[in-house]
Symmetry: C2
Subunit: 996 residues, 2 copies
Amino acid sequence: MATGGRGAVVAMAAGSTLSSASVTLFLLLVLPRVSQAQTFFFPFRQPETCGHNQYFDISALSCVACGSNQRQDARGTSCVCLPGFQMISNNGGPDITCKKCPEHMKGVTEDGWNCISCPGGLTAEGKCHCPTGHILVERNVNGTLLSQATCELCDESENSFTVANALGNRCVRCEPAFINTSKSCACSEPNILTGGLCLSSTGNFPLRMISTARYGELGISFTSEWFAKYLQSSAAACWVYGNLTSCQALGNMCVMNMNCYDSSTFDACGLFQFIFENTAALGTVHSVSFWRQNLPWLFYGDQLGLAPQILSTTPLPTNFSFKGENQSTKLKFIAASYDVRGNFLKWQTLEGGILQLCPDTETRLNAAYSFGTTYQQSCEIPVPKILTDFPTPTFYDVYLEYTDENQHQYIWAVPVLNLNLQHKKMFVNKDSSSGKWLLTRRIFLVDTLSGRENDLGSQPRLIRVATQISLSIHLVPNTKNGNIYPPLITIAYRDIDIKDPSSQSVKVSFSVTYEMDQGEAHVQTDIALGVLGGLAVLSSLLKTAGWKRRIGSPMIDLQTVAKFLVYYAGDLANVFFIITVGTGLYWLIVFKAQKSVSVLLPVPAQEKRFVTYVGCGFALKALQFLHKLISQITIDIFFIDWERPKGKVLKAVEGEGGVRSATVPVSIWRTYFVANEWNEIQTVRKINPLFQVLTVLFLLEVVGFKNLALMDSSSSLSRSPPSYIAPYSRILRYAVSSALWLVIGLIQIVFFAVFYERFIEDKIRQFVDLCCMSNISVFLLSHRCFGYYIHGRSVHGHADTNMEEMNMNLKREAENLCSQRGLVPNTDGQTFQIAISSQMRQHYDRIHETLTRKNGPARLLSSSGSTFEQSVKAYHIMNKFLGSFIDHVHKEMDYFIKDKLLLERILGMEFMEPMEKSIFYNDEGYSFSSVLYYGNEATLLIYDLMFFCVVDLACQNFILAAFLTYLQQEIFRFIRDAVGQKNLASKTLVDQRFLI
Amino acid sequence: MATGGRGAVVAMAAGSTLSSASVTLFLLLVLPRVSQAQTFFFPFRQPETCGHNQYFDISALSCVACGSNQRQDARGTSCVCLPGFQMISNNGGPDITCKKCPEHMKGVTEDGWNCISCPGGLTAEGKCHCPTGHILVERNVNGTLLSQATCELCDESENSFTVANALGNRCVRCEPAFINTSKSCACSEPNILTGGLCLSSTGNFPLRMISTARYGELGISFTSEWFAKYLQSSAAACWVYGNLTSCQALGNMCVMNMNCYDSSTFDACGLFQFIFENTAALGTVHSVSFWRQNLPWLFYGDQLGLAPQILSTTPLPTNFSFKGENQSTKLKFIAASYDVRGNFLKWQTLEGGILQLCPDTETRLNAAYSFGTTYQQSCEIPVPKILTDFPTPTFYDVYLEYTDENQHQYIWAVPVLNLNLQHKKMFVNKDSSSGKWLLTRRIFLVDTLSGRENDLGSQPRLIRVATQISLSIHLVPNTKNGNIYPPLITIAYRDIDIKDPSSQSVKVSFSVTYEMDQGEAHVQTDIALGVLGGLAVLSSLLKTAGWKRRIGSPMIDLQTVAKFLVYYAGDLANVFFIITVGTGLYWLIVFKAQKSVSVLLPVPAQEKRFVTYVGCGFALKALQFLHKLISQITIDIFFIDWERPKGKVLKAVEGEGGVRSATVPVSIWRTYFVANEWNEIQTVRKINPLFQVLTVLFLLEVVGFKNLALMDSSSSLSRSPPSYIAPYSRILRYAVSSALWLVIGLIQIVFFAVFYERFIEDKIRQFVDLCCMSNISVFLLSHRCFGYYIHGRSVHGHADTNMEEMNMNLKREAENLCSQRGLVPNTDGQTFQIAISSQMRQHYDRIHETLTRKNGPARLLSSSGSTFEQSVKAYHIMNKFLGSFIDHVHKEMDYFIKDKLLLERILGMEFMEPMEKSIFYNDEGYSFSSVLYYGNEATLLIYDLMFFCVVDLACQNFILAAFLTYLQQEIFRFIRDAVGQKNLASKTLVDQRFLI
């Protein structure tokens, strides 16, 4: 069926001149038949599942029976003859023919093609069997096949020194060690045969004291096959013959034992130390006293206090830089690599991920060695992959390569801090003080070899993996050209008990950190904090003094202390803010802009202090903000209506039939209008806070300013996707976001001040103008005896009028046909800071009491109606009182107007106490806005900034920070608006329904 | 110096009983001296730089001179004796001693330990030299050293068939092929020796027609050593002996040639086809007609139209699902792997990155085979890494494993589309129509072998890398349980000319895509678009008719058509919006929620149509939005002041000494207040648009809703950092963001309607109340003959009064002591839709003309002052006229009040034409808000949404989208506010300075 279909298609393909339409038709007719027959699946067979007399057909991928007298070969993909059968044809693969050997020639030759009679017995495979030490001879020297195979004993005598080779078919010269020791190829007592060497027992070497046990950190102890086999022989070869490879192999075993040694036991490191100490005569290598000729350099010596000296005494004689054409932007690490048997493999650069177990692209892997880039990498690796990739361990001696001024290449040995090292049964390297550390030299990544028990080919019982490798680079203090101390490799190993490898995995990490001694920076910060903190106390004292003056109370009571503390909180918050932003910007600019490296970033642990400062700053700022908010929503305010009734109007009085004259009422709508506007400007700010939040977010996330906060040397705003992305520095995040926030904030303030308020609208000036147009003054008391006054008496006498007159008034004023608006004739000064006398305040309070009595105990009064009437009466009294006060009617409560002294302006307090007369200070700066959001922009801006930064420091998420900043802004604005509105309504008697 | 210092330290360490203080002191004294002496650097030497008679000391890492009569060995790390010198001691490594051989024994044995006299000459190394075919015999069979070495010729005779082995020290049986062909171990003419085989020239095999040239796509042509060596022999062994391995090797060569063949030339594929066609008698494997016994399966046949049939006829007999316990969430690909010589290596699963050249962690690599996860990976790999990692190519036959209902494992052959395949010199697989494709089977990743010229050990002249591998999975149409067609591997190779390998790199990519036939979805979308589009036409026609009625013009002119188009744009925008959101949500919900797979996402190319729809929708919506904005800022509005003067007041007339009565002016401040409030509610919305933007951004980015838009099967909101992150689907991004936008928008609308406007504030209701309190009505004309009327006549007669009276009024109304506010007595209806007669409108226009004449040609008038007076006069006339109109004074312009019919409400048009009398429709829904932002929330919300989505579709960046959405909102709000304010000022004569 299938073939038929196919034939048809072939026929069709041949007739390629047919039109495509008919081809399609043809296809429709024929192809379905093909496809019906064609399926492309078959059973899945593994070679291991084939039977004993089957082979796995590598073409058909299924099991096929072998020919007669045959069975599967070792690989399973071919057949071999059964024992006692000779091969008579072989076309490669499974296609062979076998024939039974005749009775007198039961054996088969090694190549399987001939039958032969054997001198002794047969092996299981049907080949001839010879005793050990003998070789099997099936052919003459010239290849002629013998009819009878023989077993020959190899000549061990003086001149020949031969022994059978591994295959047992040739005599070859035996190992020189045998000949040296025993003058023969046999290793008889008392000599010791170990690891393929024959050792003389007469040497003064502690041969019998070798312990081959291996203890994992898991508490498992067993005999490691590798140590059992080769420890003794390599130690002896190293000691006796000074064999370089054996010495390296011994060193490797010591490293596999985590460099742990105890002078009492002769384990690998004990033997190494024994040899080290007893070969002092050989001299040192490269004048390094820890490096003995012939031996590998494993230890730096176990003196106390040696480690800090090695790590921070001699700087490397080369400079590093972040940028520039010269090649010193790379840390050129190279490693001498050795295999486990001690053979030198090659010099290799650490680039390309030699020490990085986690797979990644070359670019990202190599970023680890780019100077100044803090690097972190971690992942989880399945154990089977480790077992496949690292059948034997490779050992690395790491050096840092550099070139001196004469262009000679030098290498500097990089010390290693192995956290698993035990010295006298103590984990000395886990100690926090570097004085106790024992530095070493050689490292490996994965050891799957020493954990093998009984058989080197079996699966290991446990493996040891370098799970944490960390390279730390220390900058020399006060360097100007990027001098560094020798880098330190810190390495921690983990022992993994192999139980079910396919489900096990191990977490590994690799990191490169850059550190410098931040002590000086800390000291400088502390000094700044001390100095500025002192200034803050001074400033807070002044503020408290000013406040005492303003509330007109000379006593120092608990409230004063509390007030002082609140002012101090605000000032201290500013100090923290200045210090953190200053420090942050210093790091940002100096770190990112330097060419020759002199500054490195604090590591995350060192950042703690900084974060604490920011946290303190924020908490204190929040306190200041809340204090300002509360004082703003409790101010005293009153709108003085200067309008006087226009006259009397005649009204028909019902019932009496006559007319009566009545005063024309003054419309309240102007007051409503002004109150409404005041309500609206309560939360107006000098910037648009939302634009602020979103623009900062936009610049950080979309434009890419957040990339400046990466702990690498690049100062570009973007990173290409395949390049390595370093971790973020919290200090830099703070610096970048606060710098952006301040810059955008300042730009907005300048924009609003220079452009928007001049050409679009200025809510504060509009309000003052409105007061003037509506013939209403605003009397504000922010403290008991201090406040603000906006003079709004209309220059036209009346404002409560119709459109013609209003427009006429506006026009007259525009044409300068009327007097000026100021309180003092012929001046423009409409706004004042006022310091009122205590007497004045008492009077005010007395009237105010009736004004707001409705909030008092209501039961004593007859009805709410009369309360209200009383309030309205009080309103009129207050209106009249304040009007007359301004008009200098009350001689006992007069006031005078003066300019504030410069120092008074600067310190924000008044020197003169309003004893008898109240004082009106000219104030062109509209400082009454300090009871609004508008006048507290700095506090609000910094508070928002710190809120944003604190959220970001906590979560490392700019979007979350922006969202929460927006939310808190909205919530506080809502509170300020709602409570402020309530306060306004209660203080001015304007019904809340008109404050819309 | 160094030793001295060290000694001191050791001494100190011994005296460990010292107090730590004195130790420190001691350290300070002693250690600096140590450190002065100790440096840890030395010159860098590479083993290659050592001289000829030096060796590289692997312990000291420097070059050391060999002993006398010695030179460097091959590896460079040890020494060997010079020729003519025998070794007399060797302790391993470089520590050897050499001695000159005596005159009569010039040669040295192979092992180097003895001197021997040679039969012939000496080799360069000083060993004995034998002619080819001879073996060197230095020892007896039992190992006894001969004093005179001999050269023996191996016995090639009938029974022995031996030949010298590669080392030249033993005679071994020669290859069976030689014996078969020539009955000896020599391959004499006319037989051909090639690739280690001796081929008979008598077979009917086109031996001489083999071409060994290899052409890269770079246009380079040279002789490949591999092909030259092994093509002929493997083809012959396959053809003559049916050798399985040779057949595989021949197949591999064909694959290395990109499966290109031409029936005219006998290159690798030509030979393969020749053998394939001439072994039809052997039968097929697993009844696949393209798979011949003994041969590998390389081709699917070259019939036209075969590919689509293989790819989309038979679904795989297994189901896949996204979730659940059963194991069918993984695509279990396995590959039979072969080495280049044709040996079967093993079955291996593709997991662990077998086909993925880019390095990555196991988890991320294996994500490629998790069903439903669109996978993309690409990187750049340096050429040296490729050369190291892939010394020889490995070949894979890929299968998909599945289990049938009886738990039997089956494998399905996965076809390959090799884009580099040339058939008859045409790149048929690059054709867009699958009908011309030639599917193949076997693939490799990197071939660095066939590009070697002259020498297999040398660096290749060019290498071939699979730079693009893509796996595409097609869902069976209308499946309900995740049935798929056989997957297709598309592979593209690139030839790289190796010139400077260390600086070269190659970009590779791997991807897995899931596709289904989206035809039906397209058809359904088209149907929906057609149906809804038709409805949109209908709706727009109705709207246009309604508009015609409202402007009171029956003619169909150009303006009508334009208006129709604008309405149609709005409706069509809604249609597009509904369709895109509906489709998006359908994909989102159905794709992410399905367990048994029935739907897959469109691939990026298929998304185009969707994106076009969104784009169209946005453009049309923008048009609608702009149209609404423009009509809102050009409405006619007038505030009718019902207040009448309170009477006459007596005024002293200056100069005359008498008194005159004058009317008390009606205060304009109420009008100012109302106008100011109207100005403020212009851009009030039913939602907080900023909260909207930021909350959506927060949910998407921080909460993690954006993870729903990933093209994988997970419906979780978070992904763990080490897991693979699939690419984003633009449709899903649109669906997620629009769904969130709509949900948050609806929640906000409900919150504002149910809670905020009821308990906090309702700006619209407040405005209506304010009108009533201030005795001012609002007369609004949005169209020529249609508009709104807010009845604000105070129920107390007067509102222009002082606080007592205002409060009294409020109280009376609260206590229900006065009449109701409605226009019709004893009703509450304050708001109306009005359809005015043309006559009324003409009258209105006449007055309005004078009102706004100041905008007309000013030159004809004497001064701006008089213009203004005229305007004020007109204002009073208008006030009086509209007041009297409402009071039914004008009999010829009367009106009546009625309820709107239900259908009228639904259609938003009026059925009755206001011919003689104007019509006032009761309107409790405050529908006048439709001339404000407030009444157009739906349009604004959808417009913002589409703006957000369009920016996101273009940039795939939610933050940018949020920022731009915010910016456009602010800009349009500013425009609406500013222009609306100007319009308000010009239409109502309220000075713009009071609209603050």
